[in-house]
Symmetry: C2
Subunit: 408 residues, 2 copies
C-alpha cells in the first residue's frame, strides 16, 4: 500500500491502443492496493501540430494564447485515459492543471510551479479513485492557463509527488532506465540500477534526454524518490535516482558517459587581458539570446588572452556575426570557430575521491590519436571537445577504460 | 458605439485563413468604435474528430470525460483568433467557459447555463480589448468542465449577450439569413429581413438548421436582439429576429416553409378507446429513449381508436419492435408504418388573423394530386406528412401559392 505518482510521456500515450496499455498497467498497480496519481503528456505529435497551427496565424505566437492552445493536448489525453480506466472497471477522474489546481507564476510557455492544492486529489484517492492529471500545465493567480515548457510533464509529476508526499514518482518513457552511455554507440552499455541526483543532473544537461532537468532538481529539492522505467516492458525495475547521502554501497568512479553533437566552438584570439573583458565578449552574445555552454580562457602572448566557448550549432552563424562586431570593439586579433565538433563527458560522484580520473581519460584518448580541443571540469564531470568524427570512438574507448560494461 | 456579441460557427473558423478573415471582420467593427465579445465554435471537423477518438477508447464515452475532451476544440479556436487579432494590431484576450466563468448545471454533454460572471469581460472591454469566449462550454459549481450539447455555441452567444446586456447578438453562419424555404428546392426562395421569435422557433425545430433552438428560446426569454448573417459575405444585413410585439408593419400570412425527410410514421390501429391508452402506447416508446414528434389520434370503428405518430428515421426499426410488444399488451389490431415519408410545414404568425390558410394549403396539394397522410396544426404552423417523393413538388407549389417569392 503505497501512494505512487506515475508519469507517462507522449510516446506512451501516442495512440488509443497505447492509452489502453497504460490503463492496464495503472489498473495492475491499483489491484495491488496502491493509490495512484497519473500524470500524462499530450499524445505524441499533438503539441507540434498545435504549435504549427498557431504559427500559421502568428509567426511569433502570443505566449498567453499559445498556452491556451497547446494545453489542450494534455487535456485530451487525461479524458481518454480516464475513459480507458473506467472501461476496465477502475474508477478514475481527470484534472486539468487549473482544476487541481497547480498554481504557477505568469511566465507563459515557461512557468514555474509555486503551489499545488492537494485537497481534491486526496478526496478522490480516499474514495478509491485513480486521479489523472494533465502534465505540463498550470494556472496563474489570475486564472490564466500557463505551461511549464517542453518536457514539463516530468516536472508536473515530481511536483505532484512532492505535494502529495508520494512514496515514489515513476517516470515511464521509451527507454527502460538510465544507461552508462547510449547503447546505439556502445553495445555493451549497461543499465544502471541506481544513479545519484547529481549524476543524473549532469547526464540530463549533457544530452541524455531521459528526464527534464528541472524535474530532477525538483526531486532533489523535495526529496522525491524518482524512478525511470519503460512503458513498453511489463517487468523491470528501471533506474532509481537516489540521494548520494543515501547510498551505502561504494559508488563506481564513473557512472556514465554523455555526449552531444549539437554545439559549435568559437574562439576569440588575442584579446587585451584586462578586467571586464569576459563580460565585453559574452555580454553581447547573451543579449542576442544565444546560450553559451563551455567557456575557457587561456593566457595568451604579449599581455593578451584567448577566449573559447561553445554555442548551439543552430546559433553558430549568428554568434559569429555578433562576435565580428565585438572583435572591433574590444580589439581582438581574430575570431574563428568550428561547427564540426562534439562534446564527450564522463560523469560520476566517485571521481571526487579518486585521483587520476582525468589522466585516465586524457591518456585513453591520446592512445587513440584523438586530439582534445577544449577541456572543462566540474566536481563530478569532465567534458572534452573533440573533432566530430571521433565521437563514437571516444565514447567506446572511454566506456571500456572505466570498466562501465561490468556490473557495479 | 454599441456592445455587440458576435458568434462564428465551425465553418467560419474552419482554417487559419478563415480565422484571419473573422479577425478582419471583428477588427472592422472594432474600428467603428464598437465593443466586441466574440464567441467561437471548434474548427469544423474537430469536434467529430475528438468524439471519434473518445469512442476508440469507450463505445459509450463517460460524459464527464467526454466534456473534458471535446471542450478542447473551442479552446484551440479562441487562442488562434486572439492571435489573429493581435497580429492585426487589435488587442484581444481569450477565455474558456470556465475562465469567464459560465456556470452551468452538472448535466454533462447537455448542460444548461445558470449564471455568467461578466466582471472579467467588462474589465477587458473597458481596457479596449476584444473579448473572445469559447462557445459550447461552461463549468459546474464543482469546477467540472461541461458542454451545452451540439450547436451550443449559439446558446453561449445569446447567453453572453443577455448577461452583458449587449445591443445585438450576431450569429455568423454559412447562410446569409433566414429564407422563406431552402433555395436548393425553390430557387425563388427569398431572404427574410425580419422573422419573429415564434416563427424562428418553429422553423428551427422543423429542420431549418440555422440556429440552435435553445438559443432562440434564450433570446426570447432575455429580450436579446438576434441577427443571422453570413460570415462569407462582406456586406448584408442578414435576418433580424424580432419579438412579434415589436413589429409595426403588417406581417405576411406565411413567413416560410420548413421540411424534413428524417422521420418515419408509425400507426397503431384498432386500439380499445379507453382512458390512459395514449400513455400505454407512448410510454414504452419514451422509455426506449425514442423521440416522438407528431402525434395524431382518430376515432376508429367499434369503440376502437387509431393512433399515429412520427419518430426519427434511424429509430424506426427499434420503435416498431417496441410497438409489437405494446400491441399484445393493449390489444391493438395492427401495428404498421412507413419510413418513406416527409414532413412539410408552413409557418407564420400571420395565420392567426387569417382564415383559410389551411384550406389554401390542402387545396394546393390536392390540385397536384398529393395525398396527405397526417395533419398537425399549432397556432402559427400547419404540418403535413406526405409521401417522400412529393417533397420538392409540395414545397414549390406552396411557396408559390402563398406568394413567398414576392418581397413583403
Amino acid at each position: 500500500m503505497a501512494l505512487i505518482v506515475q508519469k507517462y510521456g507522449g510516446t506512451s500515450v501516442g495512440s488509443p491502443d497505447r492509452i489502453k496499455n497504460v490503463a492496464r498497467r495503472v489498473a495492475k498497480f491499483k489491484a495491488q492496493g496502491h493509490d495512484l496519481v497519473v500524470v500524462v503528456s499530450a499524445m505524441s505529435g499533438e503539441t507540434n501540430r498545435l504549435i504549427a497551427l498557431a504559427k500559421e496565424i502568428q509567426s511569433q505566437p502570443d505566449p498567453r494564447e499559445l498556452d491556451v492552445i497547446v494545453s489542450t493536448g494534455e487535456q485530451v489525453t487525461i479524458g481518454l485515459l480516464a475513459m480507458a480506466l473506467k472501461e476496465q472497471g477502475v474508477d478514475a477522474v481527470s484534472y486539468t492543471g487549473g482544476q487541481v489546481k497547480i498554481l504557477t507564476d505568469s511566465a507563459h510557455t515557461k512557468a514555474r510551479i509555486q503551489h499545488i492544492d492537494d485537497a481534491n486529489m486526496r478526496a478522490d484517492l480516499n474514495a478509491g479513485k485513480v486521479v489523472i492529471v494533465a502534465g505540463f500545465q498550470g494556472v496563474d493567480a489570475q486564472g490564466n492557463i500557463t505551461t511549464l515548457g517542453r518536457g514539463g510533464s516530468d516536472t508536473s509529476g515530481v511536483a505532484l509527488a512532492a505535494a502529495l508526499k508520494a512514496d515514489e514518482c515513476q517516470i515511464y518513457t521509451d527507454v527502460d532506465g538510465v544507461y552508462t552511455t547510449d547503447p546505439r554507440v556502445v553495445p555493451e552499455a549497461r543499465k544502471l540500477k541506481t544513479i545519484t541526483f547529481e549524476e543524473m543532473l549532469e547526464l540530463a544537461s549533457l544530452g541524455s534526454k531521459i528526464l527534464q532537468i528541472r524535474s530532477v532538481e525538483f526531486a532533489g529539492k523535495y526529496n522525491v524518490k524518482l524512478r525511470v522505467l519503460s512503458s513498453f516492458q511489463e517487468e523491470g525495475e528501471g533506474t532509481l535516482i537516489t540521494f548520494e547521502e543515501d547510498s551505502t554501497v561504494e559508488k563506481p568512479v564513473i557512472s556514465g558517459i554523455a555526449f552531444n553533437r549539437d554545439e559549435a566552438r568559437i574562439n576569440v584570439i588575442g584579446v587585451p587581458d584586462k578586467p571586464g573583458i569576459a563580460y565585453q565578449i559574452l555580454g553581447p552574445v547573451a543579449d542576442a539570446n544565444i546560450d553559451v555552454d563551455m567557456i575557457i580562457q587561456n593566457v595568451g602572448q604579449d599581455g593578451t588572452t584567448d577566449f573559447s566557448f561553445t554555442v548551439p550549432k543552430g546559433e553558430y552563424p549568428r554568434a559569429l556575426k555578433v562576435l565580428e562586431e565585438v572583435k572591433k570593439h574590444v580589439g581582438a586579433r581574430e575570431v574563428s570557430g568550428d561547427d564540426k565538433i562534439c562534446k564527450v563527458s564522463i560523469v560520476g560522484v566517485g571521481m571526487r575521491s579518486h585521483v587520476g580520473v582525468a589522466s585516465t581519460m586524457f591518456r585513453t584518448l591520446a592512445e587513440e590519436g584523438i586530439n582534445i580541443q577544449m577541456i572543462s571540469t566540474s566536481e563530478i564531470k569532465i567534458s572534452v571537445v573533440l573533432d566530430e568524427k571521433y565521437l563514437e570512438l571516444a565514447v567506446r574507448v572511454l566506456h571500456k577504460a572505466f570498466g562501465l560494461e561490468q556490473a557495479a
